[in-house]
């Protein structure tokens, strides 16, 4: 027993000892010289690193205490091809035969490793490298590329040799190409598309069968293509038809690679939905999506230095001076709309040059019937006006935008851009209005027909230079811009107004049959310069200057049709020239360090408002405006980062804004003969003092976000209206300056998850307090408005196939008038929304949305509610979910109406526009990329 135990212990120790062994060997070059300090690695059979060591001066290495098993020993030495041998633990000591490393051909080292900086892959007999890093001139073929590759010979006839052996077969992506004739491939394929070139020994049939390697005299080549060259285009088409003659068609197609992006978009519909959204915009503009604004940026305070500001064009697409981008973000304004767009975009981006070019055609029109009623408060009585109008608008616009962005060297960039546009818009309206005094005495009845046509052309160009310096933080920017617009307007006004006296008997009748043909030509030029300089790591100073001049010449020719003959209307006909010159210069100093930034600065601004105007026959209306106006512009800004996910900011700035030209010139707008407007040559620029405060904080781990914004604007020389209401209740208004108006607003938001990733809620609270003024029959009216709007929302996503989004908000507006406080208003507007999307079964989805609006105003006993229910069911079809058939019902309850209410200085009004109501539509979509499978909305936070 004892012996047995001892034997056992001995045996075990033996076993323990035998579990580790030693591997030794030496590393040499092909000439049998030892390689010292070569790296030798002990790997598992799957190449996992176990241990490593270095050879000594004699080229010897040793691995001690190696656990039993199967290993690889890999020797590497700078500039040599690594060698791997396998080893198993048979003995306690394993001595490996010397490993002889082959030097990598000097040419390969030089060209691939040093010059092209490409990684080199060793795969047995194949050396593979990334050919995309080899520089060849544009338009080169693969043959041109091969000429540059080390070890490759290209003969006159295009035949190839590698390391002295003929290449008899060329494959692309491992597949035969044109029967495998090497020259067809190499002469036709563009070099830019190539990612890798692999050359290996041709395997003979016996080798393929037996796997025994034979020495081959022939080689084969395989070419791998770059990802982008394999990519096709993508696009989408939607076709739909419905009852009450509703239809939509929309298509877009994109193609892009490394350098070029081409896209096309087309839309035609009469559904009232614009048909274009943010995604379409991004697909259309591609890499140029966030590049507009071109080079005509006006430098100011706080613009930083190297930062580029991104801003979007206005919301309406029908102005002459707008950007193509705005066509994608238009809203529905009620009525029965028609809409059509065609757009083409091409971007080029290669090395240091970027070109963006876009053409866009937009055609739109609306037919609508509007009912509106408004009340004006005068010191002794009120006027009530009821108006019914039929309107139609028609718009046609062509636009082109080109931008060219060139990086001259690492310190200089220039951007040149040009926009051209041509627009034609037609509007016609037919309105019937009754005006009552104190809601009972009919004062007038009018029928006004307007036919208005506008035609305009625009050219807008700019050039910008950005310069940075060797000294980090130093920056210089300069730009110039030129804009020219030519506008022709033609208005035919046909109106009949019947005035009644106190007894309700016709007092007089006014007939107007007038044509107003006007022309204006505007030329503006602007130049902006800025420079910023770091004083130290934390202090910066910057200076800027802005200059602009806007010259406008115009004619307003008004003729009356009296007894069938056209006669010039001396009271309304004008010619004018205006020139608004603007010069602003300022400087600021900034301290910024560790998340804290503070700047103070000041500037000086000068406006010169000059105008000359003349009536037709040297009437007393001739005059001149020459109003220089200047002022100081103080500026201060503080921001503080509270960690990475919180920020606090406070800023003050003053701005001085020029008056609109139509407000400045004494030109009469009588398109509504009951409400005549005229400009004021004595008008001064409006000054505003702005204070902003914001704080936000998020706690990502719990998904909580809190934010608060507050802002206040206090006006001096605010442009307000001065109204005069005559005995016939015709209102004449003109703009004047007045001090003391203000707007205060705040926004508080809080969002948090109730159940993580399943139920998220958000609570917001908006409020605003405004004070505004108006003069009516020389009496000052002060109006105070208080608005608050609480809202709550819930996003419920219990499973990946359900998305339920609920939100409700109510907006309460209190309006108080100082001269007619019996008229104080309170109106409440409540909105409730529910959206529900779900996947019912394989590829079958339901999507519904319900919106219920309530409009309430107790003073008018008004209580309107508009419920809108939309629903659709859709089935994804075809391979890769490329197709979709959808059946939708819009406004299922047939209640659609566009309603709005307003209460401002001495006026309350409500407008309702009848709109496209219930319709059913069937549509088919084909999307090359496949349809979206999810039902949940994307959120980026």
């Amino acid at each position: 027993m004892k012996y047995l135990l001892i034997t056992c212990i001995l045996f075990c120790t033996q076993l323990l000892f035998s579990q580790t062994f030693t591997i030794t060997g030496e590393v040499k070059d092909t000439l049998n010289n030892p390689l010292a300090i070569a790296s030798v690695m002990l790997l598992e059979r799957d190449s996992t690193l176990v241990d490593f060591t270095q050879t000594d001066l004699g080229g010897y290495y040793a691995f001690k205490k190696v656990e039993a098993g199967d290993y690889l020993v890999k020797a590497t030495y700078l500039g040599y091809i690594p060698i791997t041998v396998s080893v198993s633990s048979k003995d306690k000591k394993v001595e490996l035969p010397p490993m002889r490393l082959t030097e990598i051909a000097a040419e390969l080292m030089e060209v691939v490793i040093r010059a092209a900086r490409a990684p080199m892959k060793m795969r047995g007999d194949t050396i593979e490298y990334d050919a995309s890093t080899f520089r060849v001139p544009e338009g080169s073929t693969v043959e041109d590329l091969l000429r540059r590759l080390p070890g490759m010979e290209v003969a006159q006839d295009g035949s190839l040799r590698s390391d002295g052996k003929d290449i008899t077969k060329v494959t692309v992506e491992g597949k035969d190409f044109f029967g495998g004739d090497p020259t067809t491939v190499t002469k036709n394929l563009p070099a830019e598309g190539v990612s890798k070139v692999q050359v290996f020994d041709k395997k003979s049939e016996t080798e393929k069968l037996t796997g025994i390697k034979q020495n081959s005299e022939e080689k084969e080549m395989n070419i791998t293509l770059k990802e982008e060259f394999k990519k096709g285009g993508f696009g989408k088409v939607i076709v739909g038809g419905g009852d009450i003659s509703r239809g939509e068609i929309k298509g877009n197609y994109n193609k892009f690679n490394e350098k070029h992006q081409f896209s096309l978009v087309g839309v035609r519909n009469n559904t009232g939905r614009n048909g274009l959204n943010w995604d379409d915009y991004q697909d259309f503009m591609g890499a140029n999506s966030f590049n507009f604004g071109g080079g005509d940026m006006v430098y100011g305070f706080g613009g930083g230095s190297g930062f580029r500001m991104y801003s979007f064009g206005g919301s309406g697409g029908n102005d002459l001076e707008t950007k193509i981008s705005s066509a994608f973000f238009g809203g529905n304004e009620g009525g029965f709309p028609e809409n059509g767009n065609i757009g083409l975009n091409y971007n080029y981006d290669h090395k240091k040059t970027k070109i963006g070019s876009t053409y866009f055609y937009n055609l739109s029109g609306t037919e609508s019937k509007t009912l509106s009623n408004s009340t004006n408060y005068l010191s002794t009585f009120n006027t009530n006006s009821d108006r019914q109008s039929d309107n139609s608008t028609n718009f046609n616009g062509h636009r082109g935008e080109v931008s060219f962005d060139q990086e001259i060297d690492s310190f200089h960039t220039i951007i040149i851009s040009a926009d051209i546009a041509n627009v034609i818009s037609k509007t016609s309206g037919d309105a019937f209005t009754q005006i009552l005094k104190d809601q009972e005495d009919l004062t007038s009845e009018s029928n006004v027909k307007n036919d208005f046509r506008l035609g305009g052309n625009l050219i807008n160009t700019s050039a910008l230079l950005r310069k940075s310096f060797k000294k980090k933080g130093r920056f210089f920017g300069a730009n110039i811009s030129y804009l020219n617009t030519q506008v022709n307007e033609d208005r035919n006004l046909n109106s009949k107004i019947v005035f009644y006296n106190n007894a309700g008997i016709i007092d007089s009748t006014q007939l107007i049959n007038q044509n107003n043909a006007s022309k204006s030509d505007k030329n503006s030029f602007g130049a902006n310069v800025m420079f910023s300089e770091p004083l130290s790591k934390t202090w910066f100073v910057s200076v800027f200057t802005n200059y602009s001049t806007k010259k406008q010449n115009g004619d307003v020719n008004v003729t009356d049709l009296i007894d069938g003959a056209r006669q010039i209307n001396d009271l309304l006909t004008r010619t004018y020239t205006t020139n608004i010159e603007f010069l602003r210069s300022g400087s600021s100093i900034t301290y910024s360090n560790d998340g804290f930034n503070a700047s103070v600065g000041g500037g000086y601004q000068r406006f010169n408002l000059a105008a000359e105007y003349a009536a037709a026959n040297n009437s007393p209306f001739n005059g001149k405006v020459d109003n220089p106006f200047d002022g100081w512009l103080p500026y201060a800004d503080i921001s503080y980062s509270m960690g990475r996910n919180g920020r606090l900011g406070l800023s003050y700035y003053k701005s001085i804004d020029e008056p609109k030209i139509e407000d400045l010139l004494p030109i009469v707008d009588n398109s509504n003969p009951l409400n005549i407007r005229e400009g004021n040559p004595n008008l001064l620029p409006e000054n505003s003092h702005n204070i902003r405060f914001n704080i936000n904080k998020s706690i990502p781990i719990s998904g909580i976000r809190i934010y608060f914004n507050g802002r206040g604007t206090f006006y001096d020389n605010q442009v307000i209206q001065e109204e005069e209401v005559d005995a016939n209740l015709i209102t004449k208004s003109r703009p004047i300056n007045y001090d003391g108006g203000r707007r205060l607003s705040s926004y508080l938001g809080f969002s948090f998850p109730i159940i993580k990733n399943k139920i998220k809620s958000n609570i917001n609270f908006n409020s605003s307090i405004n004070k505004s003024f108006a003069f009516v029959n020389t009496i000052l009216n002060e109006t105070n408005t208080l608005n608050y709007r609480p809202s709550v929302g819930l996003d419920i996503t219990p499973t990946p196939t359900i998305g339920l989004y609920i939100d409700a908000n109510t907006s309460i507006t209190n309006t108080e008038y100082n001269i007619a406080n019996s008229q104080n208003q309170k109106f409440i507007q409540t909105s409730m929304n529910v959206k529900f999307n779900t996947k019912i079964y394989k590829g079958l989805f339901i999507s519904t949305s319900y919106n219920h609006m309530f409009y309430k105003n107790d003073r008018f006993g008004q209580n309107i509610d508009v419920p809108i229910l939309n629903a659709s069911i859709y089935q994804q079809i075809l391979k890769g979910k490329r197709g979709e058939i959808r059946l939708s019902i819009y406004d299922a309850l047939n209640k659609n109406i566009q309603f709005s209410q307003y209460a401002g200085s001495n006026r309350v009004s409500q407008t309702s526009t009848n709109s496209l109501a219930r319709y059913v539509m069937a549509s088919f979509t084909y999307n090359i990329r496949g349809m979206k499978d999810g039902v949940q909305e994307q959120n980026w936070w």
């Binding site: 190449s47 270095q54 990684p119 966030f290 933080g473 910057s542 560790d594 496949g930 980026w940």
Partner: protein, 245 residues
């Protein structure tokens, strides 16, 4: 005897010349956001194509610089301070990794979701596979190796040179027969590549006197990060806006 001493001296000098083990490496770290987002499970092909079209050309254009200061025993890896911040400064996250090669210990100061943690632990062991590929980085011939990201479970490629005999690297990676001069995280989501290598006789390791943060073990920290990533992706958001990739 004299000859032997001379031989030893010469070979010692040769050894010194060949063995570079003290110095400063500047790395540039590039993040390829579109590549990262493309791999998130909730992104559709349409979303990916759109992002690629809009931002693809600019992704990874601007890198951030990091410095690895090392000697044979220790290294410190942290973000390189910019010469100027262009007039606006954000609050930066803490990111300082100390590796002690002798003691096999690590000390990391890192910010995760706005909170600073101090991770003092053993050096993590990476399972490296050695691949058959070579490339030159910053004048050094490097060999390729592969491991797996311990948190994200994604492939990590490293390029190391045995000319610098310190077994360290950027972003805390170590354990190869030489210095890591480049990393490729999950194919091309993030790349970190040496732009300059400055070999010196001695360096001052920029170890701050005070390192304040909530103490945590590496395992617990990794679990915290991993949990956030999983939950955020489940909520259809990109976790890497908040978490260092």
């Amino acid at each position: 005897m004299k000859n032997i001493i001379l031989f030893i001296l010469i070979s010692f000098a040769l050894q010194l010349k060949a063995q570079e083990n003290t110095g400063l490496i500047v790395f540039e770290r590039h993040t390829y956001w579109i590549n990262i987002m493309s791999k998130l499970p909730f992104m559709t092909q349409e979303d990916i194509d759109r992002d690629m079209l809009t931002w693809g050309k600019n992704q990874g254009k601007y890198g951030r610089k990091y410095e690895l200061t090392f000697n044979p025993n220790k290294s410190v890896y942290t973000e390189k301070e910019e010469e100027a911040n262009y007039g606006y400064s954000w609050k930066e996250d803490d990111y300082l990794l100390i590796r002690d090669y002798e003691e096999k210990k690590t000390k990391d100061l890192v910010t995760f979701l706005g909170k600073t943690f101090l991770i003092e632990d053993e050096t993590p062991k990476y399972k490296w596979k050695i691949l058959n590929e070579i490339k030159e980085i910053a004048g050094y011939l490097c060999m390729k190796a592969e491991t797996v990201d311990p948190i994200k479970n994604t492939p990590v490629f490293a390029w190391f040179t045995n000319k610098i005999s310190v077994s360290g690297g950027p972003e805390g990676y170590s354990g190869l027969p030489g210095m890591i001069l480049a990393l490729e995280l999950n194919e091309n989501d993030v790349t970190i590549e040496a732009i300059s290598v400055d070999i010196k006789f001695s360096v001052d390791l920029p170890i701050p006197k005070k390192m304040k943060g909530k103490e945590i073990k590496r395992n617990a920290y990794d679990q915290k990060v991993s949990k956030y990533i999983v939950e955020t992706i489940e909520g259809r958001k990109n976790p890497y806006w908040q978490v260092r990739y």
